[in-house]
Amino acid sequence: MYENELNNDSSSWAYDVLETDQLSSSKLQFKQRSMNRKLSILLWGLRLYAIVMLLLVIVQVVNSFDQ
């Protein structure tokens, strides 16, 4: 059903109801933002926080099993 529509002009109505960047083959391409030193430190700091917290959780659970 969809293949027939894709191959003929009756699909042109789709352009009226979809925005250009909603089309799967024409999504907006965003450039990478500039990462200053503060932002890099923040992101890597959060990464370190997540790893440390994960280790603490594992310690807590192992402790609770020992008890």
Binding site: L6, L18, L46, M53
Partner: protein, 460 residues
């Protein structure tokens, strides 16, 4: 006849491609959007309600999906441990936090038409996108294991063995996904999700004391035992039951897959608010149900999913206990559907492969494979004898709470990015609330860390 894509024109870091070829995914999405356009052009009260009906979905699904198996067990444990008191208004607070966070994902998805992982990768670099995807998929896999434990526990009440529970759930996931139509997938999953309200009639059957409920909401009391390590753990568990990273990824990707635009942001907010409200009601109902166990001094410290249903039988009868078990099954099922989809969305976004529930299997087989693999692996794990399931259940909610601050920071950075958000960038009030929530979660996390290292600082 397909139209050739012209070279995109870059403006301020954003490319604007011209008209391009239609794919099957686009046509399916266009069919959904056409109904919305028709209703918008013929305004009436009836059409407003129809429009709301068409546009709700991602918000309700994410909130009710987050009332998953472990969350409902967490609420059940809360009611059984602390009764009717502090945690009732606290649940409202957590869902308010969830609304503030999730609303931002609606704006991000509707404005940028990018999923969360995709946007992180595009704006911060591929390595950060890859980190985000790996964290999400690993976290989701652990969470999915707990969903299958809940599913197995819920159906175990009826004597159904775990292998049948797991296989039935996988079949349901396959059947829903096979529609290859986002709309159908969404509506069927919504139907399952709204069954979360099954806890409301059960709460009525538990005959809670209305004056206690009013007192709890107005005074945030009582809090039996005061602030202890156990209390803090339950606070974190409740937060993990309402605010988790997969929700950010899921709602933004679902918003994009549904084809929502900036015109739909208002409805997206209503959708999210409705979801938060319904989920909060179900959560509070669960606390009210198991407060009967608190009142009758029943020790639930070693309870698993089905134990609650069995122990509640004297207070809510066989019917109530049956409905409770069904509710636990439903909560696990909906979460399994939503969470496995969020993994697949993130995978497709980072690997730049088709990732829509409107795609055919041929176009998007890796996307569908991730859904099935994620659910399949998690389901299989619970069938392995001596698998460390208790360990996984214990850490999942807590990990979700602790991993939320980095996820919120990325969210705040994206939603404050004027280049991509334009007029839909976060306003001052949004930032105040967003940063306050992030700080709250970081403080809770650090406090948990201190208790872990120095457990004697607080009375147990």
């Amino acid at each position: 006849m397909s139209v050739v894509i012209k070279q995109p024109k870059k403006i301020g870091g954003v490319s604007h491609p011209k008209r391009s070829a239609l794919k099957e995914e686009d046509l399916k999405r266009a069919r959904d959007r056409r109904r919305i356009h028709t209703l918008r052009s013929a305004k009436s009260r009836k059409n407003s309600l129809k429009l709301l009906w068409l546009l709700v979905g991602p918000g309700i699904l994410v909130m009710l999906g987050e009332n998953d198996g472990p969350s409902m067990i967490s609420y059940a444990t809360t009611g059984a441990t602390y009764g009717v008191g502090f945690f009732l208004p606290f649940i409202i607070l957590t869902f308010t936090m969830a609304f503030v966070i999730q609303e931002m994902t609606v704006r991000l998805g509707a404005r940028t038409k990018h999923g969360h992982a995709e946007l992180i990768s595009a704006r911060f670099g591929k390595s950060w996108g890859l980190f985000a995807m790996i964290d999400l998929i690993v976290g989701n896999l652990l969470t999915l294991v707990t969903e299958f434990i809940a599913i197995s526990a819920g159906l175990g009440f009826f004597g159904i063995p775990p292998i049948i529970s797991v296989l039935s759930t996988l079949l349901i996931i396959i059947a829903i996904t096979m529609s290859r139509r986002y709309w159908t997938w969404e509506r069927v999953t919504l139907g399952f999700a709204l069954c979360n309200l099954i806890f409301v009639p059960i709460a009525v059957m538990a005959h809670p004391e209305p004056s206690q409920i009013v007192s709890a909401f107005t005074t945030w009391n009582p809090l039996p035992g005061g602030i202890t390590a156990g209390f803090l753990l339950l606070v974190m568990s409740n937060i993990g039951a309402t605010v988790t990273p997969w929700m950010l990824f899921f709602q933004q990707s679902a918003t994009v897959d549904k084809g929502m635009t900036t015109e739909d942001i208002r409805h997206g907010r209503i959708d999210t608010a409705l979801g938060a409200l319904v989920a909060a009601i179900a959560a509070i109902a669960t606390v009210l149900i198991t407060s009967q166990l608190f009142t009758h001094h029943i020790d639930t410290s070693n309870f698993q999913g089905a134990d609650f249903a069995h122990s509640l039988m004297p207070f809510i009868g066989q019917t109530g206990a049956t409905l409770f078990a069904l509710g636990i099954f439903e909560s696990g099922l909906v979460a399994a559907i939503a969470i496995s989809s969020s993994s697949a969305y993130a995978f497709g976004e980072i690997t730049h492969r088709p990732h829509s529930l409107n795609n055919s299997f041929r176009e998007a087989w890796p996307f569908y494979a991730v859904i099935l693999l994620a659910a399949g692996i998690a389901g299989s794990l619970i069938l392995i004898p001596h698998a460390p399931l208790v360990f996984i259940v214990l850490i999942v909610n807590v990990i979700a709470t602790l991993s939320m601050p980095p996820a919120i920071i990325f969210l705040l950075l994206l939603v404050n990015d004027k280049e991509i958000m334009g007029a839909y960038v976060n306003k001052r009030l949004g930032n105040i609330f967003g940063i306050a929530i992030a700080l709250f979660l970081i403080i809770v996390g650090i406090t948990f860390g201190v208790i872990t290292v120095f457990p004697h600082l607080l009375k147990t």
